[in-house]
Symmetry: C2
DNA sequence: CCGGATCCCCGTTGATACTG
DNA sequence: CAGTATCAACGGGGATCCGG
């Protein structure tokens, strides 16, 4: 596929494709949950501890969304007290690659972006 | 770099890296503007036409942000009527790759995600 | 332990009107 | 043509309390 055709993937259908994925992962916590779940199943409270700043409510909502999308599996153990474990599905694991690519881009270009900010803000507007 | 270390890029610093990039491109219009600008400089009104649904205000805000980030260049021609052209910078062009990777993921997995939605919604909750 | 339900704040977006 | 100014609507997300 040519570079041009690939870019059309973003613009295709009035941007509905890219909007879909951004609605899915562009929020505050989804990618952090996916990354935290990468390589190890984990229970609710442990996710809560490992993701600094997230609230119970937002963790619940994020996990529900991911479960509905089929990216995260949820297992309930019939015990007292209750135990629930989460893990990435096969599909969920395929998301890690593109997400990491984006994070690498961010880390690599952050310095020049910050320099650009300083240059921009010191000009008059 | 190992897969584990890459995932740490996402989680690193309490997720500040990934939060930064998502704040930058996770909004409604930024990636669409970048994709539309890919391969061709363009003036304001043409962008407005090519991106269905965007308002003058949001296009302006999005372009300003991208300019401040150093991802888009802005050229003003001293003419009457005024003419302003926008184009991706070298840095801006490097963003296209990871963005396209994400769009490809979205297009490829959309069918199964929709199936997952139907399965999830038909179960009781 | 794992959530569901509620209330509320505030940032983002959009519509509209105006200007150099 | 290429914006700016202003106002209103909307929804994400946090705090808190309650329940199985």
């Amino acid at each position: 596929m040519s570079e041009y055709e690939k870019v059309c993937l973003i613009r295709g259908d009035g941007g509905r494709a890219i909007r879909g994925i951004l609605d899915r992962i562009g929020d505050k916590w989804t990618l952090l949950v996916v990354a935290t779940l990468h390589g190890q199943r984990m229970r609710f409270t442990e996710l809560l501890r490992r993701i600094p700043g997230i609230s119970q409510r937002m963790l619940t909502l994020t996990l529900r969304q991911l479960e509905r999308d089929g990216l995260v599996g949820r297992t309930v153990f019939a015990e007292v007290p209750p135990r629930v474990e989460y893990e990435l599905t096969a599909t969920g694991r395929t998301l890690v690659g593109p997400a990491v690519a984006l994070a690498e881009w961010a880390v690599e270009h952050n310095p020049e972006i910050e320099r650009s900010h300083q240059a921009y803000d010191s000009r008059d507007h």
